[in-house]
Symmetry: C2
Subunit: 233 residues, 2 copies
């Protein structure tokens, strides 16, 4: 029985995944080190490294210097959600995108918001609320606070044609952010905006983005009933 040769890191990865799946390497097992595998696979250690790194990133292997590489006992599934501009999201489904500005004003935010944005309590922020539609049906309600200290040009924008969602992505760079998914009951106002029943269960996405140590914007997106966020594992 000949050893097949592995010419690229993807094929090495496939073989590694096969061994894990076939329980040739069982959960908790220490697998051979990179040099040995390189020898066995007939390729350079770099190639083995690339493959093992990819598998480790997916959560199936635990790697530690000196301790070696082990098959994870309880692999942590990682679901990656792509959060695109809402317009693209809708158009990629082949639907017609619509947008309607609801309100736009400068205001002192509620405590929960100024708090989360670490903004002084009496400080005015730009508050924009708008509706995104797919094929003329309400799709998502966007409720956003923008920090004019960080994005002063944002005050000059009306957000009547271009949504804040899109405008900010183009004009307000950010370094990092947080995102949270939750469920909430539609208030009567939200129900009216989204054309659903009051107390319908809505999927909410809250995002807070930072540019260095300043908060750029905080947004809550409410999706219509039965909306799903899907991805593969």
């Amino acid at each position: 029985m000949n050893k097949p040769s592995f010419r690229n890191w993807q094929s090495v990865q496939t073989e590694v995944l096969r061994r894990i799946h076939a329980r040739e390497w069982e959960p908790g097992d220490l697998i051979p080190n990179e040099s040995d595998l390189a020898l066995e696979f007939g390729c350079a250690r770099t190639t083995v490294n690339r493959a093992l790194r990819a598998v480790a990133d997916s959560g199936l292997l635990d790697r530690r210097r000196k301790a070696g590489t082990r098959v994870a006992e309880q692999p942590v599934a990682k679901a990656t959600l792509a959060i695109a501009v809402i317009r693209n999201e809708i158009e990629e489904r082949g639907q017609y995108y619509g947008y309607r500005l609801i309100t736009r004003r400068e205001a002192i935010p509620p405590l929960a918001v100024s708090d989360a944005m670490k903004s002084p309590q009496n400080h005015t922020l730009l508050h924009v609320r708008a509706l995104h539609l797919a094929d003329d049906t309400p799709y998502a309600f966007e409720d956003r606070w923008i920090n004019p200290k960080v994005v002063p040009e944002g005050l000059a924008e009306s957000y009547e044609i271009v949504s804040a969602n899109e405008w900010l992505l183009k004009h307000a760079p950010y370094t990092h952010g947080e995102i949270a998914f939750s469920a909430t009951s539609a208030t009567s106002e939200e129900a009216e905006i989204l054309c659903c029943n009051e107390n319908s269960a809505l999927l909410a996405i809250d995002r807070l983005t930072w540019d260095g140590s300043s908060t750029v914007t905080k947004v809550r997106l409410l999706f219509g009933p039965r909306h799903q966020l899907r991805t593969i594992l």
Copy 2:
């Protein structure tokens, strides 16, 4: 003005991110090719490649052979959610994990389930329902269907002590899966189980896992009101 030298791919990545953030390279711009950057940065092309690949993975660059590398016009934020075993999730918060089996029986699933699992309509599956608790408070309701054709050993397990969530991860390998997040109103039964009000908005996670071309299991996890899934961008 000296050119600082970049000794590792992380520092190259940092510099690339800085240029994008500082708009030295604007959205849509074609950036220099790898060889030129390697020259400029005083490192090997491999190192530049590694750095650019990392940035591209995060969505800030678009790379195409021959066409070169461009700064993304509308970077797609990618939120990666780690879906761990519920017990670990709770224990990592420093809470006490509890588990209670609600029902366990072999049954013919409703059409929606047999359909999604691509199982023959009259085929019996194992149906397990259980509650996960954090500090004796209901945390998540697990409603699961298991395919005994794929996991026959699963029929011998009582799931009274070890949750199906945990048992399957250890004993039923899978190759791929789908996951969906949504919001739903608590039925009266769900409300009773989770100790919340009927019609409360609950966060639901639906997972379907495959082993090759066979469905292993389909599970719906319902989390108590106000539960959030959080991650960083």
